[in-house]
């Protein structure tokens, strides 16, 4: 079974990151997974070309409501900086606001809009559609 090389999660909520780490490990869908509590740190990581290990993620799971740089601002920065990048953003949020969903559809680098938390089934499905 194919695996993602790297997944990145950006979420300011530590318990959510902990949970996603557990689920991602259990689903066994990727070689590497990196968590950022601050969008600015994730942005620096991407700007540096995925750190020293050249870990450019296939998917960036992005929370919307965060202190400092929020999800929308990150997506905008990402669009400007990495227009031809292969990494795609999936917005991961608790927001049930239809306006957010609409905005996500209009955002270039955003591939999907999903509700937290990720499940084993969703991760399997993502792997199947992404890596086939």
């Amino acid at each position: 079974m194919k695996k993602f090389n790297c997944l990145v999660f950006i979420d300011d909520d530590y318990p959510t990151n902990y949970y996603h780490n557990e689920i991602v490990s259990e689903a066994n869908v990727c070689e590497h997974v990196i968590f950022y509590e601050r969008a600015s740190e994730a942005f620096e990581f991407l700007k540096a070309g995925g750190g020293s290990g050249q870990l450019m993620p296939e998917i960036i799971f992005l929370d919307l409501n965060m202190p400092e740089i929020n999800g929308w601002e990150f997506a905008e920065l990402y669009n400007k900086q990495f227009s031809n990048n292969s990494s795609r953003i999936i917005l991961l949020t608790t927001s049930l606001n239809p306006a957010d969903q609409q905005r996500a559809e209009e955002c270039d680098s955003v591939s999907a809009f999903m509700h937290k938390p990720l499940t084993l089934e969703i991760l399997d499905e993502l792997r199947d559609t992404w890596l086939s």
Binding site: D12, Y19, N65, P67, E68
Partner: protein
């Protein structure tokens, strides 16, 4: 027959000398021109009058229509106002429902987590204990949020406006915060503060929020130095609470007042994301303004205004 024409005929048949005839005819010519001008003016006036009358008719009709429209709008407003009052009442009830009905299942979760920890604590593996910690921490956070929302919805609903000595309120706040002040070795200076007309509990909460923020976001390297001042500015009192804390990027000076927006990670500091929006609601309740200035690593100053009492009375 036109009198000028008749006169001409009479003169031509008269015994006037040709010079006299010419002179009189000249005068008659002038009269003729004047008469024509008069006719023309009368016709113009008539035209204008008809136009004005039509215009007035139209305007009156339009005004009547506008009046009817306005009447409809007034009726609609009245309906909307009634609806607003109902909606506000519903919102208040909703806040109470939230406070009670959501707190109960939360309490159950917290109770059973603590039971598990107490009774099975020794036999639980490390992972399970971490999971339980997450459950209890998140439940407590939710419980605090619910309480904060309820308090937020109650701002200005309970109590009456009275004369309040801000120096006294701030001293009470400092007493409430004395443990934290002592622990952080904070140095707090206060100018003479005025008497204002407002809500006692709300103003207490306003000062408490701003001072405890100054304590909470202090630098680890040095003890917090906090100064509370007030000056008269136009019709308002202008209060300032400045600190030498960690500060924040001025880019976020507006966002910090939006409900549930935090500038700091919830895992690092205790904040419901409601404190400053609460302050904003309280200041606006008192018809004032609130804003902040900050330089990262240097400190922040929070400003707010409250109308001076005398002016408030006249208004």
């Amino acid at each position: 027959m036109n009198p000028i024409v008749s006169l001409r005929r009479l003169i031509s048949e008269s015994s006037f000398s040709p010079e006299q005839k010419e002179q009189v005819n000249g005068l008659l010519q002038c009269l003729q021109v004047d008469a024509e001008r008069k006719d023309f003016m009368i016709a113009r006036l008539q035209e204008n009058r008809t136009f004005t009358e039509n215009f007035l008719d139209k305007t009156v009709k339009e005004l009547e229509e506008k009046n009817q429209e306005l009447e409809c709008i007034v009726q609609e407003r009245k309906r909307d106002n009634k609806q607003l009052i109902t909606t506000n009442q519903e919102l208040e009830e909703f806040a109470y429902i939230i406070s009670h009905d959501l707190q109960e299942p939360l309490r159950t979760i917290l109770s059973f987590v603590s039971l598990l920890e107490r009774k099975k604590g020794d036999s639980l593996d490390e992972k399970t204990q971490i999971y339980l910690t997450f459950i209890s921490q998140s439940s407590r956070r939710l419980s605090n949020l619910i309480k904060a929302i309820l308090d937020y919805s109650r701002i200005g609903k309970i109590g009456k406006e009275t004369l309040i000595d801000c120096s006294k309120v701030v001293n009470e706040v400092l007493f409430d915060l004395s443990t934290a002040i002592h622990e952080k070795k904070a140095s707090i200076t206060i100018d003479i503060l005025p008497v204002v007309f407002g809500f006692r509990d709300e103003l207490h909460s306003l000062f408490q929020n701003l001072i405890s923020n100054a304590l909470k976001y202090a630098k680890e390297s040095s003890g917090p130095v906090i100064h509370i001042s007030c000056i008269a500015k136009g019709p308002d009192w202008h209060f300032s609470i400045s600190d030498n804390g960690i500060g924040f990027d001025p880019l976020y000076k507006d966002r910090i007042f939006v409900i549930f927006q935090r500038l700091h990670n919830p895992n690092n500091t205790i904040g419901s994301g409601i404190g400053l929006s609460r302050c904003k609601k309280i200041v606006e309740l008192h018809e004032g303004k609130i804003w902040a200035e900050s330089t990262p690593d240097i400190g922040s100053t929070f400003h707010f205004t409250i109308p001076q009492y005398e002016v408030h009375e006249k208004v």
